[in-house]
């Protein structure tokens, strides 16, 4: 299983102090994604120019001769790179890194157990996040079951873009879902996230119908989803769910993902989309719309 990050003392991924496991691979490709290295299910090479000493160790180490030292740092010929990782092994300054480390379930359980005391003390637990953890059903289910047996609170941070069957299975072994609601119009959802949203919405309704605990998070991205129509539709959809929502977290967009796109050298450029951080006024307006539907929306979370 490829994991691209493990975060300890994670305090924004559910209740208490948590350990968050970031699994690589996602069916969506949201243009604002701040973890773009989670999108591909493969190992990827990351290069951080500012950290590069220009020592050339990676160039010498590359068996496929994919790297070249230029005045602009190290340039990479993607067609020759097999992401073997030899460059990252020799890089002294971590300018060259491989995103995605193979873990067995045993190894991950070992990592999770390191935080047991903090979880117990804070009523925290583990959060499986991505990418999209449901892209790895067998692995995810095994971990969820093992954590369940050990009494570790399990949260799954998911797009819900998955077969309903699978969602149902995961649901049985999950204590809390963290669900992103991005755009209500399927056309725009497909345009900005790469896939339509009907499956997501019906899965969300299924989770709610089953009485499962879940938290809704909505990224607020001016230019994408902060128009009144979308906010009203989101609020009305959430209000129609059988379960009473305690709170909806609205997360104003920040362009922290940009830096990561640079590292990935992704051809795809988020700059082509008119995204910006919503003003405080606009944020407040969104909050009020939710309130008018009887939903307690909060900025941040």
């Amino acid at each position: 299983m490829l994991v691209f990050d493990i975060k300890r003392y994670a305090i924004n991924d559910g209740p208490g102090i948590r350990i968050t496991i970031f699994m690589k691979g996602c069916p969506l490709s949201c243009v604002w994604c701040h973890n773009p290295e989670g999108i591909s299910g493969q190992r990827e090479k990351l290069y951080t120019k500012q950290k590069c000493l220009g020592c050339g160790a990676c160039v010498d180490a590359c068996p496929g001769h994919a790297l070249r030292l230029t005045s602009e740092g190290v340039s990479s010929d993607v067609s020759l790179c097999t992401v073997c990782g030899k460059c990252a092994d020799v890089c002294p300054s971590l300018a060259m890194e491989i995103s995605g480390k193979e873990y067995t379930a045993d190894e991950l359980m070992k990592e999770i157990r390191k935080e047991i005391l903090f979880m117990d003390c804070s009523e925290g637990g583990v959060t499986f996040c991505g990418g999209e953890p449901l892209m790895h059903p067998d692995f995810l289910l095994e971990l969820l079951q093992r954590c369940g047996k050990e009494g570790i609170h399990r949260a799954v941070d998911t797009t819900l873009y998955a077969r309903p069957e699978l969602v149902r299975q995961v649901m049985e072994h999950t204590d809390l879902f963290l669900i992103d609601l991005k755009l209500m119009d399927s056309f725009w959802h497909k345009k900005y996230c790469g896939v339509p949203n009907e499956l997501i919405l019906s899965n969300l309704r299924m989770v709610a119908d089953a009485g499962k605990e879940f938290i809704i998070r909505i990224p607020l991205i001016e230019g994408i989803n902060t128009d009144e129509d979308n906010i009203r539709q989101s609020a009305s959809f959430l209000a129609s769910l059988p379960q009473h929502l305690k709170v909806v977290n609205l997360l104003p967009y920040h362009d922290i993902g940009k830096n990561k796109h640079e590292k990935l050298g992704s051809v795809y450029n988020p700059d082509q989309f008119p995204m910006s951080t919503p003003s405080e006024n606009l944020q407040q307006k969104c909050v009020e719309i939710f309130h008018s539907y009887g939903i307690n929306a909060k900025i941040g979370g």
Partner: protein, 794 residues
């Protein structure tokens, strides 16, 4: 009393705060003049303890009395707030010292040319050859002096007296007249027939009795002055306050206090007496002040003779009094190792009582409010959080921490009580104990626990890597333990390092024991001895086995730096053979010049302490255990022994200055790690990993560890973030953590403060066991604070 809002300072406190905040530290030569005159006339006429007590009496009789306009709690050590006396009997400042103090950029103490001239004429000539400092330096062996000068260790008692004392609750039960009675019966019971020490005891007890008179006289002079001022006062409200002040000062410290106000004033007179008599390290400390005051508070609230607002106002007045008392100036190496105005009165709030029950009271919450509102340098404060401590108290403390004032720090009584019991204290005495100064533990009111100085542990490794030679000075300071290039294994290297540790520890112990005797003989603290059990009962001085317990500490600094350096050598030189020893030594000599790739490899490819990685953590545990073995049990001169302490204060900055590059990639001159914290920037897995690493040390074996954690304000925005911080603290303490403290600041703020200091005058930053104003720190210390790992978690 002035009325207050439920929250916020009233006008009186605002004015007093402004005054203490704006007063410039200055030097007062009054004490030195009184003392010198007295010594010239009387030296040789009395036994030394009596001479010391009469000297104290003389100062109390003649020193200027100060009662400020808005004050309710009265008494200053100098003639006015932040005016600091000198103690020529310990260290007599030279003319040059005084000029430096008057003109240096940081920790400046102003003094007039006229006073400097008087000092030169009347004080300096007399004390030449008579000071403690000269006695000490005339005796120490050459190798000690060399090691001291190269920064292997420091010596606390070179300019100040042993102190680090905190009081228990007895001063709220007995007045000085009660103590005098006890002394009188002690004198009457002396057995000159069978006790060869009877004469010494007679001298000491007589001196103690004189010391009581001195403090009572000092209080009465305040009463007289307050009465006089009240007659002249036009404002009837202030006139009545002054009459009340007079009434309080006529009652305490002669008698046990009856009210909350008297209790605070009682402590304050004892505090003043102690820091006037001598210049002990860490001023004085009321210990569990909230626990001592709670019975007075509760009784008076029930009777209706005190309101919560009044109690808070008096507490604020007390805090301001402590803040008025700037630390006496240090010079030379001692100024470098601990350059601060802070005199380390560190209040213990909450915790547990002597019977093991929860010590939190309404007074504890009042103190937290006062800390938050006053936002001043002194006193330091710490919340003490045991398993019995209510969560709401911890939360209230964490909310003050969130303000980023650097206070309070957090201590774990469940662990320090074990530490004290391990050292041999009774359960009750251990529970009445706590942490004073920075993080050191002691049995309050019953112990002399003396810090003797810092040991530069990374430098011991540096010297080991150069076969006993200090590469910075080129001097041979250590043992010849072999050329490291000949070491076949990591174990050989480690064995050599350990040999050097023992060599320097033993060297330090010998001189500390000598200094101990110097204080016992020449500078008995006959006033302080009154308040530390069992000095009166034994007829012996605080410095001379009088206390029930007598601990000597050596503080080991730089655990993170030395661990990471050993990790680097073990992994890269001995295991992976990334570089050979010669290459490593060459890199250290050249400060990694032209070897940035090598340095980066070390920084990024070495397991470092503070990441919950057993490779590094087990080395830290080994070093810690070996330091313990080297220090623990070494005899002191009081029939007890040395213990390990893991404090650094600001000394890690000075120690870093006198060191070359280290194998962990730290460059020459940069600060070493503080206390038991990870090296700056070495901890990359968040605070839970840090505390887990620290939790692997068996902290009960120490007399205190220190963990600094930088937290960005962004991590503490929401209510639930506070809960998570509480959980982090509880988790660390469940693992056996002794202490943790937080700097809640962002780097941008700190850079801004460097650029535009005048706009950030009140920026308090937690440095080590205390907080300091960022602007009062030198550039190195500022850089050090900035460099501490930011625990960003987004």
């Amino acid at each position: 009393m002035e009325t207050t809002n439920a929250f916020g300072m009233n006008d009186r406190i605002k004015r007093l705060r402004k005054q203490t905040f704006e007063a410039e530290p200055s030097l007062s030569i009054e004490r030195a003049l009184i003392e010198t005159r007295f010594y010239k006339e009387n030296e040789g006429k009395y036994p030394i303890p009596v001479l010391r007590a009469l000297n104290f009496l003389e100062i109390c009789k003649h020193k200027t009395i100060y009662i400020g306009r808005d004050e309710l709690i009265v008494g200053e050590r100098g003639p006015s707030p932040k005016s600091v006396p000198t103690f020529p009997e310990l260290t007599c400042h030279s003319i040059e010292d005084l000029h430096i103090l008057n003109t240096r950029e940081l920790q400046r103490y102003t003094i007039s040319q006229q006073d400097i001239d008087t000092y030169e004429r009347e004080v300096i000539p007399y004390w030449k050859g008579r000071t403690q400092r000269e006695r000490i330096f005339s005796h120490v062996p050459g190798e000690w002096k060399l090691a001291y000068e190269t920064g292997m260790f420091t010596e606390f008692m070179e300019q100040r007296a042993p102190g680090h004392t905190a009081l228990d609750g007895k001063v709220y039960k007995y007045g000085l007249l009660d103590l005098k009675e006890r002394i009188a019966s002690g004198l009457a019971a002396l057995d000159y027939m069978n006790d060869p020490e009877a004469t010494d005891k007679q001298e000491e007890l007589t001196a103690m009795s004189i010391s009581c008179d001195a403090a009572i006289l000092f209080a009465e002079r305040h009463a007289d002055m307050a009465d006089k001022m009240s007659c002249e006062e036009k404002d009837p409200k202030r006139a009545s306050e002054l009459r009340k002040i007079a009434e309080v000062c006529r009652w305490v410290p002669a008698h046990a206090p009856r009210t909350y106000w008297e209790a605070i004033q009682m402590y304050w007179f004892i505090h003043l007496g102690t820091i006037t008599e001598l210049n002990g390290w860490d001023a004085m400390n009321p210990g569990h002040f909230d626990q001592h005051l709670a019975p007075f508070y509760e009784k008076e609230i029930a009777e209706g003779s005190l309101t919560r607002d009044e109690a808070k106002e008096l507490m604020s007045c007390f805090f301001i009094k402590v803040n008025n008392h700037t630390a006496p100036p240090k010079v030379g190496i001692t100024a470098k190792e601990s350059g601060t105005y802070n005199d380390f009165t560190n209040l213990n709030i909450g915790g547990i009582k002597a019977d093991g029950s929860d010590g939190v009271s309404e007074v504890s919450y009042i103190m937290l409010e006062v800390i938050e509102e006053l936002h001043i340098l002194q006193p330091g404060s710490a919340i003490h959080v045991g398993t019995r401590t209510p969560e709401r108290f911890l939360r209230a403390g964490c909310k003050v921490i969130r303000q980023g004032h650097g206070y309070p720090s957090v201590f774990n009584p469940d662990v320090y009580v074990q530490e004290l019991i391990r050292q041999g204290k009774s359960l009750r005495d251990a529970r009445e104990g706590g942490c004073s100064g920075c993080i050191e533990v002691g049995a309050f009111g019953k112990e002399a626990y003396v810090l003797t100085g810092y040991l530069n542990v990374p430098k011991v490794l540096e010297v080991t890597l150069h076969n006993g030679v200090d590469p910075v000075s080129g001097q041979k300071v250590g043992l010849e333990t072999g050329n490291p290039c000949d070491f076949k294994s990591y174990d050989e290297l480690y064995a050599a390092f350990l040999k050097q540790i023992h060599y320097f520890v033993d060297m330090k112990v010998r001189v500390s024991n000598y200094i101990d005797r110097m204080f016992a003989k020449y500078a008995p603290a006959t006033f302080l001895s009154l308040f530390i059990d069992d000095c009166i009962a034994k007829g012996k001085d605080y410095y001379n086995c009088g206390p029930r317990y007598n601990t000597t500490y050596i503080q080991c600094t730089g655990l993170g730096t030395v661990t990471d350096s050993l990790c680097s050598l073990k992994k890269h030189v001995f295991e992976d053979k990334t570089f050979c020893m010669a290459e490593m030594l060459e890199a250290l000599t050249t400060n990694f010049e032209g070897k940035e790739a090598m340095r980066q490899r070390i920084l990024n490819r070495t397991p470092f302490f503070g990441n919950d990685d057993d490779y590094a953590d087990q080395i830290a545990v080994k070093v810690y255990d070996d330091l313990y073995d080297a220090i623990e049990g070494k005899p002191n001169t009081k029939g007890e022994c040395f213990h390990l302490n893991m404090l650094s204060t600001t000394c890690h900055v000075y120690f870093g200055k006198v060191m070359g590059a280290m194998p962990n990639g730290r460059l020459a001159g940069k600060a070493i790690s503080d206390g038991t914290s990870p090296s700056h920037g070495a901890d990359t897995h968040g605070p839970s990993a840090v505390v887990k690493s620290l939790g692997k040390l068996d902290q009960v074996k120490s007399g205190g560890t220190l963990l600094n954690q930088r937290f960005m304000p962004s991590l503490l925005k929401r209510e639930e973030d506070i809960s998570k911080l509480c959980s982090l603290i509880r988790s660390y303490f469940a693992m056996g953590g002794h202490h943790i403290q937080f700097n809640i600041v962002d780097t941008e703020t700190l850079y801004a403060a460097q650029k535009c200091p005048e706009e950030y005058r009140d920026l308090l930053v937690r440095v080590a066991g205390y907080s300091d104003y960022f602007n009062d720190m030198n550039a190195d210390l500022q850089a050090d604070v900035i460099a501490r790992t930011e625990q960003e978690s987004f």
